[in-house]
């Protein structure tokens, strides 16, 4: 579970989860569809930063509107060019298979994730 205090909780299958990385700079991508926050460089690789809302995460209304992402959950290979953005206090909490995630957590299975990415890819840039 990606816990991002004040923002959201995402319950992801283990095979999607790579590692949580600090990000210092987000490069905006003109023409990118909504849901793509921008690009960040993680260990020499450009990584596309996704807003967890593309997978149905709800934003906490009390969260600051212009909060800058400070970390990113980079996905595991072969999707390591993608990451979910998160705040500075985000953390990953392992959840045993039999345990139920918090009712507020949004469950994202691999199928939902692939569909969300395919939908983003289907939306061509405006440029």
């Amino acid at each position: 579970v990606l816990e991002d205090p004040g923002r959201h909780q995402l319950a992801l299958p283990v095979e999607l989860v790579g590692r949580l990385e600090a990000i210092t700079e987000v490069l905006p991508v003109p023409g990118a569809p909504g849901g793509i926050v921008g690009l960040a460089e993680l260990r020499g690789r450009p990584v596309t930063l996704l807003d967890p809302m593309v997978c149905g995460a709800r934003k906490d209304p009390s969260a600051p509107a212009s909060a800058t992402p400070r970390s990113a959950l980079q996905l595991a290979p072969p999707r390591e060019h993608l990451a979910f953005v998160a705040g500075p206090d985000a953390r990953i909490r392992p959840l045993p298979p039999e345990a139920e995630p918090d009712p507020d957590a949004v469950r994202v299975d691999a199928g939902t994730f692939e569909r969300a990415i395919a939908e983003l890819g289907g939306v061509r840039g405006r440029v």
């Binding site: 003109p30 690009l39 460089e41 020499g44 690789r45 450009p46 890819g121």
Partner: protein, 502 residues
Amino acid sequence: VRPDRLQQAFHSEAARHLDAARDLLAGGEPLTTEQLAELFRRLHSVKGMAVSAGHEAVAERAHQLEERVARVRRRGKGLSATARRELLRGVDGVRERVERPVPAEETATTVVEGLPPVQLPEDRLDRLFDVALGLSAAQQRLEHRLGLPADGELLALRDGIQAGIAELRREILELRLLPVRSLLPLLEGAVRRWSQECGVRVQVSVRGDGVRADRRMLERLIDPLGHLLRNALVHGIEPPAERRRAGKPEAGTIRLTIRREHDRLMLRVTDDGRGVDPREVLHRAVERGVIAAGSEASLPRDAALDLLTRDGMSRLSAADGLAGRGVGLGAARGEIERLGGTLRLHQRTDSGLTVEIRLPLGLAVLDVFLVETRGQTFAIPVGAVREVHGLDQPEGPRGPPPERSLDLGEALGLGPPGPGPPPRALLVVEGAGPAAVLATERVRARAEVVVRPLGSPLEAVAPWSGAALLPWGGLALVLDPLRLAPRARAVEPATSSARMEE
């Protein structure tokens, strides 16, 4: 002889003999005694080489075919049509086996000299490259934070580390590049099968086989290229009798041209078949509501052909004469666009169809101009820039008037220029069509950068072809002039005095 060299020699030589045997069998005329002897020799050579290289299955099959030809020669009655067809099938079968990777137990074991070469699995190679780039990025960031050391010894140490990392990066990048031509053996068997199914004869020629591209990109090209070759065979190349009537050689030609155009790979598939009637395409497009009635008159010829790749044109009935044409082309176009590329159709009057694909090279080291607009840095491949003009230089060659330029920030949807500094540089950028004049706030640097692909879903977003790792750390989007082309404005050709190289 080292085992790998023996295998290479076997693959190329056996393929050469089998292709020659195929040509003999596929010809329309009855085989002469000399041709039968040559066929026997070719098969015999394949058998001998297969035995030497440890390919027992190939040797066995070649032996069976050789025996069959020997029996025909002994009888002295020539080759029947049935026997000829069966031999042709047999030769193609052996050719396919020759192309297949060799199972470990089938390789030669008696000629080993020293230990076998080290083999690096592909994922380890990718990982190694990531580590090298990560190291490079960390070093750049560290340098940026610490600044240039004043101490001469430290400076030399820094230069050594920098050069070492750059060398490591280059070496690993080289390992990842493969000749584009290496795609062809994967498609040759399929081309033979399709031409047999369609009853056509075809020769595939390749130009520009020295071009190399990232292995990952090449893997993703196999399917679209297959679609295009199949389309040319099934719908383009006519059967021998029809070609004879049209005054063409019985065997059709498919020419594959490969070229590197600055940061892009260009592949052109041209056939000398019956082509497509643009009027018929337009008629069907209007009929199916793909374009509005009345708009067809204003469409250029190539734009009419492009309609073939559009949704709604892929289910044409056999009565259309275009049946199936759009299916493969539409599929190929979809796949190419997913890779961030473009696909265009061309046709000269009374000739076959040409399909041109342009794709980002994938991972590459590129020479780029780093330009700034609205506070963001973008990379433009130097090869795509015809001229650069500084607008604040009182003297020197002047470029096109600024009012004819396109503001880069506006072109990228970053909004109109703000109260900040006005554009100070003009770049004349060339795509596939007319050149565009881009106005930008400044040209920050010219640099050699590593460009990495964006991957799905950003790879489909125009006009980006990748992300460059900046020499001072961080990223810049690489602009693909070809995908900016729809907003391009034509300019006059440059005068020689204003050319960039001067």
